[in-house]
Amino acid sequence: MTDTGLPASVAALRRIREDPHRLGHRPHDGREPVQGIGMGTTGPAHKRIIVGYGFWIFLLSDIVMFSCFFAAFAVQRNATAGGPTMAEIVDLPRVAIETTALLLSSYTCMLSFAATNARNVLWTQVFLFLTGLLGLVFVLLEAWEFYDLASRGITPQRSGMLTAFFGLVGLHGVHVTAGGLWLATMMAQVLVKGFRRHIIHRLICFNLFWHALDIVWIGIFTVVYLIGSLA
Amino acid sequence: MVCDEEEGALAMAGLHVPKRLLACACAALGVASCSGGVLDPAGPVGKGDATILIDATVIMLAIVVPTILLAFWMAWRFRASNTRAEYLPYWSYSGRIEAVVWSIPTLTIMFIGGVIWIGSAQLDPFKPLPSKAAPLEVQVVALDWKWLFIYPQQRIATVNQLVMPAGTPVHFSITSASVFNVFFVPRLGSMIYAMPGMVAQLSLQADKPGDLWGTSAQFSGDGFSDMQFQVKSLPAADFETWVRSVRGNGPVLDQDAYTALMQQAQRVPISTFRDVDPQLFHAVATQKIPPGPGPQPEAPEHAGREISTGGSH
């Protein structure tokens, strides 16, 4: 199992282009799974696949954790204990800017990975930096939102609903912050070491993480802010 | 009567359980688990619950005992020293055996599923008991570590003592003024959680006069082991007499008395109150009166080590 350094998707496309009917490139009857992906009887998968797969499993577990906080919000969304309701605390314009920033950061993250695939250090770093910047914008806006609410006396200690709100949104913000720290570390590693195999594996994981955070945010945005402001 | 409906339902399912079987099972299971226990029910709900318990046990034993015997027979017959038994070193599949092996648990569980379905509906604690007599209302508040019983129709209250008229259904509204507890009178059946800020409904009935006991069945702190309460079932006339005697003397359950009750205390003796505000329970259940305070940590040098206040009277 040689490592050409190309991701499986690019290698697969190449295979399809060169041998669309799988005449010469698979053992036995052509229905055998591809070597190196760990399916069937072809032996252990390639390290890149193992790392990515394991990280996917971790992401699934993280999404389960988020779903518990979503569930808490669903249960407690009306437990306002005489305090403010969701509709009173949602500031849609600011949330719209946060969302745009985060979605854009996902886009720049994807661009940085395209640059990594092309083994271009400069553009990888540029787009990673932009990703980090947009993530920072998101976090700062969110912190500003919390600060605003707190200065109006709207704190998680006020009611169950606010606890669930701050908890869910805050958990996501903590993840984004941790992702930002990770991003800074990755930028430093790429700077110092370049595109070694394990650095690329870590960039794969980082990309998965960042995109997953985006998906979770879309859930939060919809369930907490949009639906919350309607009720 | 719930019990007859229950027996009827079970009879429809092909399982008529006479009271004799209940008694036999009791004898087989030993004395201490019988008199005073859940298999010695004193009311229709308890009887229904106990019948289902016995039924389910019998159904399962019918499968479990042959399986255990089969396992030991199999191990004995094919022990290595028994060279007469056929050695089939490659035999590892048989469609017929698989079919049986999947069917036995499936059919058993379908049967049990039927018992579950019917039993849960029949014996839902929230379901009122059918009866000619009007139910007696009792409101129950779990405190640390005592039970408060309020009789709103009679405007009296008791601590750690539940008196009920025999043969009359009693409808309980149950809440807690501190942590989770469970209201449980073993011989009357159906325990249910007492939760702060919520009201659980339960209907029980004692068929005959007698002395029973109840307890909390959810651990609630240092005084939990003494959170039992006396249960007396009296004939209807005696019950009225008892109500009158309670109304005749004793303190009033006013705000101060209730605040005193909310403090943590262990081994609280039985006491009665001659008057109580019928809105008290509602105020407790909706937390207009906030829940009881917990332990009061004392000196600062004990910070980090919880001191349990309370103690016996």
Binding site: G43, A164 | A75, S92, E306
Partner: protein, 670 residues
């Protein structure tokens, strides 16, 4: 400066924890001094503490589990004796202490005794059975183990500094909120369980990835040993369920530390939500424990019957069936919370449905024995004991799954007897069977079967004498967690139960004696061939103990029961397969990052418990710095030369050729 911590945190006025802590500290110091004096630190550091070898990590997990089982058992002795002595009397443990004892007992037994043992077994066995050299993420594996170990240390520190939770092993609010539990006890519980939960999740991810993406050539999914299937199912459950625990405990932590309102009594908190969430974890947790236990028996029955497992595919289906349905039954832990007939019915039926999967497994084990030549060595004794004990435990479980029956027995001693019945009958018996079964593989010598047999009989009889009376007590109306008993009529059962504990103590002593005496006589008990039980799966093709790289050449598997086919062909042809072409191998480098991370997790947990904020932040920063330093290394693997591989494998082939000659004389081929 030190937060809430002060000298008054030490239990000066309570002789039992004080003296116990003193003795434990003495023992620990003694061990440390011994290791230092004998100069074992370099060896321990190099070969064990920084090892990323799954076999070493598996052994360390099992060692941790066994030590904590003994601690949990000590708690159990205290509980049974207190209840026997405190009938219309105060007993010797005041409520403040007794409540910690039963909370610690449950927490330790499940999370620090059974879990590490099960994780350790999976860690040790799964890569060997799959024919690969290590798990998917060996360094992460080390991190996971050391996190669990540091969490166990945290729990034990609570004996000496502060107190443990007094809420039961699942800290239901509102009792566990600061209003009703203002001390540090619940905080100890929260941080310890949280840290160990992360460790467990790491192992779960590791094994799922290993089983699904790292099997040797020719080993398709349906050629894997059943133990690997159950390990997969158990670890899928870990990945699905442990995040729920993490979230729930995090919410309780936020409530306690920051005054939030997830589960408080007032201001919109919802204590029922805790009960739902924690049991949505709690029920899969017991299946996480029991599925590998089933897997152990699925290995032992075929091996000791001399024939393949009956109905392999059925077993796979049943395993996955149990895995999935176990996520849908959690409400049966609180039927009495008043969810109503419809909800109770759904969960009652789904809980009963799990019995279908389990029943199929039991019948398949029984039919594995059909047509076999059953050898009653120690692992098989535990298996027969399991069949008897677990079936009855399952019976009482189905009883409890019927809501009206549960309305009489919820939270009673009947429930206590039931869950001990299934956990001890399945998980503990499986652990002892597995330890006996795989001990030769791990250490190169067998355990002394006579003491093992004695340990089994003491455990089996002791279990029934201890727990059968508890069923009676539950039916008599006795609820659980009572510090003293106000009903003298329950005394006879309590005395019988306490007597049963004495028998169990004899069992523990026998087990320890077995280990000690076997180590002393290890030369006589040496496992020369690597296959002491006439095994059928790939781990028995390696020497005992295996070289650190497991297999010189990764096997090429051609059917179910990979090793059995290889063995039969060798016996038939009277020769081993031809010597392979040895290639150099890449193995992962050892790393101290696991130990380092865990050390700072322990410091972080301790600091958070005692509100020492500066220390907590410092520990977090140090842990992160450690990770970055570790991530900066350039070399992850080292190469094992073809010569070294060849040398190890030729020694193995020599030993195998020797038994081949012996087998050909005895004519052992069927």
């Amino acid at each position: 400066m030190f937060g809430k911590l002060s000298l008054s945190a030490i239990p000066w006025s309570q002789p039992i924890p004080l003296i116990t802590s003193f003795i434990i500290i003495l023992i620990l110091l003694g061990v440390l001094v011994l290791v230092t004096v004998k100069g074992w630190w370099p060896y321990l550091w190099r070969e064990w503490i920084t090892s990323v070898d799954h076999k070493r990590i598996g052994v360390m997990y099992c060692l941790l589990g066994v030590v904590m089982l003994i601690r949990g058992f000590a708690d159990a002795i205290m509980m049974r004796s207190q209840q026997a002595l405190a009938i219309d009397a105060p007993g010797y443990l005041p409520p403040e202490h007794y409540n910690q004892v039963f909370s610690a007992h449950g927490t330790i037994m499940i999370l620090f005794g059974a879990m590490p043992l099960v994780l350790g077994l999976m860690n040790f066995v799964v890569p060997l059975q799959l024919g690969v050299r290590d798990v998917a993420f060996p360094t992460f594996n080390s991190v996971g183990f050391w996190l669990t170990a540091s969490a166990a240390l945290l729990v034990n520190v609570s004996l000496f500094v502060g107190e443990f939770a007094r809420t039961g092993w699942l800290p239901y609010p509102p009792l566990s909120e600061t209003t009703y539990s203002p001390g540090v006890g619940v905080d100890y519980y929260l941080w310890a369980v949280q840290i160990s939960g992360i460790g467990t999740l790491i192992t779960g991810i590791n094994i799922v990835t290993t089983v699904l993406k790292m099997r040797c050539h020719g080993m398709s999914y349906l050629r894997m040993p059943i133990f690997c299937w159950t390990a997969l199912a158990s670890c899928l459950l870990i990945v699905a369920a442990f995040p729920i625990l993490t979230a729930t405990l995090a919410m309780l932590t936020l409530d306690r530390y920051l005054g939030w309102h997830y589960f408080t009594n007032t201001a919109g908190g919802n204590p029922m939500m805790f009960v739902n969430l924690v049991w949505a974890w709690g029920h899969p947790e017991v299946y996480i424990l029991v599925l590998p236990a089933f897997g152990v028996f699925s290995e032992i029955f075929p091996t000791f019957s001399g024939k393949p497992l009956f109905g392999y595919r059925s077993m796979v289906v049943a395993t996955l069936f149990i895995c999935i349905v176990s996520m849908m039954v959690w409400l049966h832990h609180f039927f009495t919370m008043g969810a109503g007939a419809a909800v109770n019915t759904f969960f009652g039926i789904s809980s009963s449905i799990i019995a279908v999967g389990t029943g199929v497994k039991i019948y398949n084990w029984i039919f594995t024995m059909y047509g076999g030549r059953v050898r009653f060595e120690v692992p098989m004794l535990w298996s027969m004991g399991f069949i008897f004990t677990f079936i009855i435990g399952g019976l009482t479980g189905v009883l409890l799954a019927v809501p009206p029956a549960d309305f009489l027995t919820h939270n009673s001693m009947f429930l206590v007897a039931h869950f001990h019945n299934v956990i001890i009958g399945a998980v503990v018996f499986a652990i002892f069977a597995a330890l006996e079964y795989w001990f030769p593989k791990a250490f190169g010598f067998r355990l002394d079967g006579r003491w093992g047999t004695a340990a089994f009989w003491f455990a089996f009889v002791g279990f029934w004498v201890t727990f059968a009376p508890l069923y009676m007590l539950g039916l008599g109306g006795m609820t659980r967690r009572l510090q003293h008993i106000n009903f003298p009529e329950w005394a006879p059962w309590l005395y019988v139960s306490a007597a049963g504990v004495v028998i169990l103590i004899l069992g523990v002593i026998s087990q320890v004696l077995e280990l000690v005496l076997s180590i002393r006589n290890r030369d006589r008990l040496r496992d020369i061939t690597g296959d002491p039980w006439d095994g059928r799966s790939l781990e028995w093709s390696t020497p005992s103990p295996p070289p650190f790289f497991n297999f010189a050449v990764m096997p090429n598997v051609e059917g179910e029961e990979a090793y059995w086919g290889i063995k039969l062909r060798a016996i038939e042809t009277q020769q081993l397969s031809p010597e392979p072409n040895y290639q150099p191998i890449e193995m992962p480098l050892d790393s101290p990052v696991g130990f380092y991370t865990a050390f700072f997790s322990f410091v972080f947990g301790f600091a958070m418990i005692w509100y020492i904020w500066w220390l907590a932040i410092a520990a977090l920063v140090a842990a992160f710095a450690g990770f970055v330093v570790f991530a900066w290394r350039d070399e992850h693997e080292f190469e094992v030369s073809a010569d070294e591989v060849a040398r190890a494998d030729r020694a193995r082939r020599e030993a195998r050729t020797a038994i081949l000659a012996r087998l050909s004389q005895q004519g052992a081929a069927p």
